[in-house]
């Protein structure tokens, strides 16, 4: 689960990590009051106005503005709050800015890149730092990989102390007495908050020689939210695709894509493989949808509702491997769902596994128009054929 910069900074601040301070504004009539508050509280005439959306690339898209005067701050804040911000991560449609963060402006001497995440290959957490901060880190990794320094942490083999010393050395922070403590606090914040990712880009040294997190991007392990009650409240549903959100309410795993062949499959791996074979036969999958291990009438009905809410969908491919679930039951579920929902797109059904033959017979003999198929290959060809 992604959270906003101001929420991520709140987490860091709770662990005594120095952050660029500021206040959040949700409506335009709070703007002037908040700018005044930031200027006085943090003794900074100049302020920075930052759009709070989950996507990256906000600065380049015009969602972050340095404002030397009160007037320019008011102007920028009014401009950014409520704007439709387009960045390389939002897609063409952009993202509505529902809240902005107004912060103190700092005099910066150096900018670093900092991130903490889990390295699956090494089975350890990894600090990733670079002296090239404040820029697109993927570009740095590609052009000057030697400027990216990694240090691993794992209870058994890589002690935290060693990793912190490595990054302090590589960033030449040895003269900063509080550097060790700050990195340790960031690690504790990352670990105790169940973060998948904690990125600070940039982490800065100010002209008065302080280490400060200027930005913060955090992704929380959704499976751990049951024990992170405060963080769970940070969930901003307006940042999510409405269809994906609705699907998750049904307990379905749905991801919208750009094609027109809707896919309904049980199991994540088979769902991906089904999308792939649609593409292989010249079609474009409209979505990823995993209806889970136990496909029944309700999950299929809900799956149809989600898939058909996407106006691009011109045909639906149902691919279920009935293991514990009997295919004849799934077939009856499909028939019932199609009848109740009054479908007007072609539906191709492939059921394999327990009672597959019986299921095919039920589908072939039903009075609704369904196209049955025996193999995934045949099913994908037929579903693509319906749209081309």
């Amino acid at each position: 689960m992604k959270i906003h910069e101001f929420q991520a900074k709140e987490l860091l601040s709770n662990y005594n990590v120095p952050i660029q301070r500021g206040h959040v504004v949700y409506s335009s009539n709070e703007i002037e009051k908040t700018i005044d508050k930031v200027q006085n509280e943090f003794n900074s005439d100049a302020v920075v106005v930052k759009a709070q959306i989950h996507a990256g690339g906000r600065g380049k898209g015009g969602g972050v503005k340095f404002c030397p005067t009160t007037e320019s701050a008011i102007e920028s804040a009014n401009e950014i709050l409520g704007m439709n911000l387009i960045t390389h991560q939002t897609g063409e449609e952009g993202k509505l800015v529902n809240q902005i963060l107004i912060t103190e402006a700092l005099d910066i001497e150096k900018e670093f890149y900092f991130a903490l995440m889990f390295d699956r290959a090494k089975n350890a957490d990894v600090f990733i730092v670079s002296t090239e901060g404040g820029v697109d880190i993927e570009e740095v990794a590609e052009k000057t990989p030697e400027k990216i320094i990694k240090a691993w942490v794992n209870n058994d083999t890589y002690p935290l102390e060693d990793a912190i010393n490595t990054i302090i050395n590589s960033l030449s922070l040895n003269s900063f007495n509080d550097a060790f403590e700050i990195f340790k606090n960031i690690y504790n914040c990352y670990s105790n908050s169940d973060c998948n990712l904690l990125e600070i880009n940039p982490l800065v040294i100010t002209e008065d020689q302080k280490i400060i997190a200027l930005d913060a991007k955090v992704d929380i392990d959704s499976n751990a939210l049951f024990r992170q009650e405060k963080i769970a409240k940070f969930h901003d549903t307006s940042e999510e695709d409405p269809l994906e959100l609705k699907a998750s309410e049904y307990g379905l795993n749905y991801i919208k894509l750009d094609g027109n062949v809707g896919c309904m499959v049980n199991g994540a791996g088979l769902a991906m493989a089904t999308m792939d074979i649609v593409k292989h036969h010249g079609g474009e999958p409209a979505n990823f949808l995993d209806v889970g291990g136990a496909a029944n009438v309700d999950t299929i009905k809900n799956g149809f509702k989600i898939i058909l809410s996407d106006p691009n969908v011109k045909s639906v491919l149902i691919n279920i491997f009935g293991g514990i679930v009997r295919c004849d039951r799934v077939a009856n579920g499909v028939i019932q769902a199609v009848k109740e929902l009054n479908l007007n797109v072609g539906v191709v059904v492939r059921l394999q596994g327990t009672n597959a033959k019986l299921a095919k017979q039920i589908l072939d003999e039903s009075d609704i128009e369904l196209i049955s198929a025996e193999t995934i290959d045949e099913a994908a060809k037929k579903a693509v054929g319906l749209v081309s």
């Binding site: 290959a121 499976n223 991801i255 074979i277 292989h280 990823f288 596994g353």
Partner: protein, 292 residues
Amino acid sequence: MSILLNKKTSILVQGITGSEGLFHAQQMLDYGSNVVCGVTPGKGGQTATENNLKVFNSIEEAQTEFSIDSTVIFVPPRFAANAILEAINQNIGLIVCISEGIPVRDMKKVKSALDNSSSTLIGPNCPGLITAEESKIGITPGFICKKGSIGILSRSGTLTYEAIDQIVNVGLGMTTAVGIGGDPIIGSSMIDILKHFADDKETKGVVMIGEIGGSMENEAAEWIKNNFNKPVVSFIAGQTAPKGKRMGHAGAIISEGSETADAKIKILKECGVSVAKTVSEIGGTMLQLIEE
């Protein structure tokens, strides 16, 4: 012959009184698995399944009456890591965790405990394993399996079933199928399972099914090139998956270039592994290799 599991392997079910645990304990018994008892904390003294298996409060208690080779875990995700840790502490040789949704931080602890133990963990977030016509631990449908010569290993549940079905339909049959799980941190890697298949005389070839995310397939490819002499057919799911989106499995997310399906397929091919172009060509590709 088979790997990890045969009809003699004694099995305990953790979470046997829950609906999933109870249902699948019965399914395992019906398949012929040697399920001997169950554990649910606080429910010791009850019995479960049509076979009236004894339920204990802990593995330690169960071990006073039964010799236990393996355990299968059907416990809600927030308690599952502790269930695995309990099994590790009790020196259970084979631990299979079906539960999906265990926090990564909990699995880090499990992984560390596992490294300092002699236990093997399969999963979590997996269908378990099945040795055809002998025994199954987990939720794989038994009736699709037929004894034969092909080993199967996969990060995905239903794709495991799909592969079994195709391998059986082309007439090859299978030894053991192992679903290793779709999470970012799992107990046994592809290489761990390949090592077992390398040692098993009955296994003449291996189907290895991977997906986007992580680098396990790439490491397995290199390992196969240098160490594995049996034919391998691979399939990688997620060629059409967008970057940065979690595709159902917690571990199926592309965060860098080497984690895409295309990158993995390229490395597998470079290492001499046959890659099925689509999911429906897994069985046919394997048949071709074996006949050569």
